[in-house]
């Protein structure tokens, strides 16, 4: 489904702000698999998602999605294949437009937008039903500006919008990190439901060990722009949060060692 071959990305190359965000990532994701991406801040997990979504072009390597080489596709063209939910609840919806209009936009993801009426009558009935199934009482507020809703409600709606047309790949970028615990639980439950029901191929970035062990069928742990661990199958099923924390500890210790080694070398030779 998604094949990532040797992608590299350096931001601000040749300046003091140079960041080698991706340093050669290889990954193959099978159709229907639900992959959790873990890693510390700056490990490159969000950059990986953005590289797949096309927020920027990679310096090296190729990306193949659903049989298309999308390496050189601009972001809006890749959107035909990709549904996306951002970390910031404000990013995924147009605040001054109504709930119905936001969904009208989502219902045309990847399709030509013509001079047909945006709020097509045949969209409204399924839309009302689907939003009613959220049990948030939003089905009677379809004409309200989406900006008047809470972060949790907006994130739930963004998820429905991203999956309104079944995407080849769903990208969830810490989409519950900015929510209160209760809303986060609701959105996670909804995400799992939608992913299971539609058998969506999913890449989900998270900081929560609990989410990482309870969701998905594979965990990718990233560090310094590379894939460090790839846990799948029976091993993923057995995994407990403590095991993950141990692995993080291990990474941390190695990082510290690297730093102290670098400091020692500095003192000795410079």
């Amino acid at each position: 489904m998604l094949t990532i071959r040797g992608i590299r990305k350096t931001f601000n190359p040749g300046t003091v702000n140079e960041v080698r965000a991706l340093q050669g990532v290889d990954l193959t994701i099978e159709p229907g698999s639900f992959v959790i991406v873990l890693g510390m801040n700056g490990s490159g997990k969000s950059t990986l998602l953005n590289a797949v979504a096309g927020s920027f072009f990679v310096d090296e390597g190729t990306l193949t999605l659903a049989g298309h080489d999308v390496t050189k596709w601009p972001e809006h063209k890749r959107a035909k294949l990709i549904g996306r939910v951002f970390q910031n609840p404000f990013s995924g919806t147009a605040p001054t437009m109504s709930i119905a209009e936001n969904f009208a936009l989502a219902s045309k993801r990847g399709h030509a937008r013509g001079l047909g009426w945006a709020l097509a009558p045949n969209l409204m009935k399924p839309l009302r039903d689907r939003i009613a199934s959220l049990k948030m009482g939003l089905e009677d507020r379809l004409d309200n500006a989406i900006g008047s809703l809470s972060g949790g409600q907006r994130q739930a709606l963004t998820l429905l919008m991203a999956t309104w047309l079944k995407p080849e790949l769903l990208l969830l970028d810490e989409h519950t990190a900015a929510l209160d615990p209760k809303s986060a639980d609701q959105v996670i439950q909804l995400s799992d439901e939608v992913i299971q029901r539609d058998k969506l191929t999913t890449l989900m970035v998270t900081h929560s060990m609990q989410q990482a062990v309870s969701l998905g069928d594979r965990i990718i742990m990233m560090n310094r722009g590379r894939v460090l661990h790839d846990i799948r199958g029976a091993e993923k099923k057995r995994l407990r949060p403590e095991d993950l924390i141990d692995r993080f500890e291990e990474v941390r210790r190695r990082e510290l060692l690297d730093e102290s080694a670098a400091a020692m070398l500095n003192e000795l030779y410079i």
Binding site: A79, S91, M97, A104, R113, L115, G116, W117, A118
Partner: protein, 309 residues
């Protein structure tokens, strides 16, 4: 009475300019000074064609298309060459000054003898009424003026309705979302750059349409006529928002048209009372400044009030 009708007609014609500014300033959050050049471009293209005897409808349409091309140029400078939006507008506006002089061949084209939409309307009015004057609410009014007013009202209402319908289509909603949240609409597969170019073309098309009609009504096109017009449009938009609020797109469009007419009326009254015409631009700019700053200032005062008591 003639003064009032004249003010109403110009207010309605400039409402098209205000609608254009509404698109760039409110929908795309991009104050676009191309407006100052494209209103003159619309006027000069229409005037030159009319002098050559081209059908007024075609001449007006050609003027509007010229403005749309100017707007698209600004959009291309901004999105493809990554030039700051304000600077893109300034560049195109400056270039248009020369373009307009070339189009007209001199700095002023009079339309005294040409058949224009205005002269057509005047003749239509006299023919329909059958006499030179008509009594409205007991006031004698030149039937020619009354006909032009009705035509202007119909034309502006139709243009406003067309804009409303367009922004409710799939393409139009995507363009509104571009101004509201570009990241979101890009993730939903719409080309943000193309939307901005289209939006500025639409905006300046309306502005140039306004210029083409204005030239025909006042009977000339002039290289200087565009100076400060974007601020004029902003003032109309802001008055409109005060009149109808911004709850819905339809109300905003109606408000903008009303705002333009009201503003023109106020200006006509002020001029009548002896306001120096040279001060007009200064007062317009001060008005827009006050309208932009006052709401925040009043908000601050309100928030401070409870602690004071």
């Amino acid at each position: 009475m003639t003064l009032l009708i004249g003010a109403l007609i110009i207010g309605l014609i400039l409402a098209l300019l205000a609608l254009g500014v509404l698109v760039s300033f409110r929908i795309f959050s991009m104050p676009d000074i191309t407006t100052d050049g494209s209103i003159t471009l619309g006027a000069s293209i229409a005037a030159v064609l009319l002098v050559q005897g081209v059908n007024p409808v075609l001449a007006t349409l050609a003027g509007a298309l010229g403005g749309a091309a100017a707007g698209a140029t600004t959009g291309i400078l901004h999105t493809q060459f990554k030039i700051n939006s304000l600077l893109s507008g300034i560049l195109v506006m400056t270039a248009l000054y020369s373009v307009n002089l070339h189009v007209m061949g001199r700095s002023n084209v009079p339309l005294m003898q040409a058949t224009t939409l205005a002269s057509f309307g005047e003749k239509l009015g006299e023919w329909l009424v059958g006499s030179k004057t008509i009594h409205i609410l007991g006031w004698p009014v030149a039937s020619a003026d009354a006909a032009v007013l009705v035509l202007a009202l119909g034309f502006t209402a139709a243009a406003g309705a067309a804009m409303f319908v367009f922004f409710r289509t799939q393409l139009g909603t995507a363009m509104r979302a571009t101004g509201d949240n570009p990241q979101m609409i890009r993730a939903l597969g719409s080309n943000v750059e193309r939307n901005i170019i289209l939006g500025l073309a639409l905006s300046n098309g309306f502005v140039a349409l306004s210029g083409a009609l204005l030239a025909q009504y006042q009977g000339f096109a002039d290289a200087q006529m565009g100076i400060g017009m974007v601020v004029w449009g902003l003032a109309s938009v802001i008055i409109g928002e005060a009149l109808t609020g911004t709850r819905s797109l339809g109300l905003t469009i109606v408000g903008t048209i009303m705002g333009s007419v009201l503003f023109r009326l106020l200006v006509a009254i002020a001029l009548r009372w002896g306001l120096n015409p040279n001060d007009l631009k200064l007062i317009t700019a001060l008005f827009v400044f006050a309208a932009l700053v006052l709401p925040g200032f009043i908000e601050k005062l309100k928030r401070r009030a409870p602690t004071a008591t």
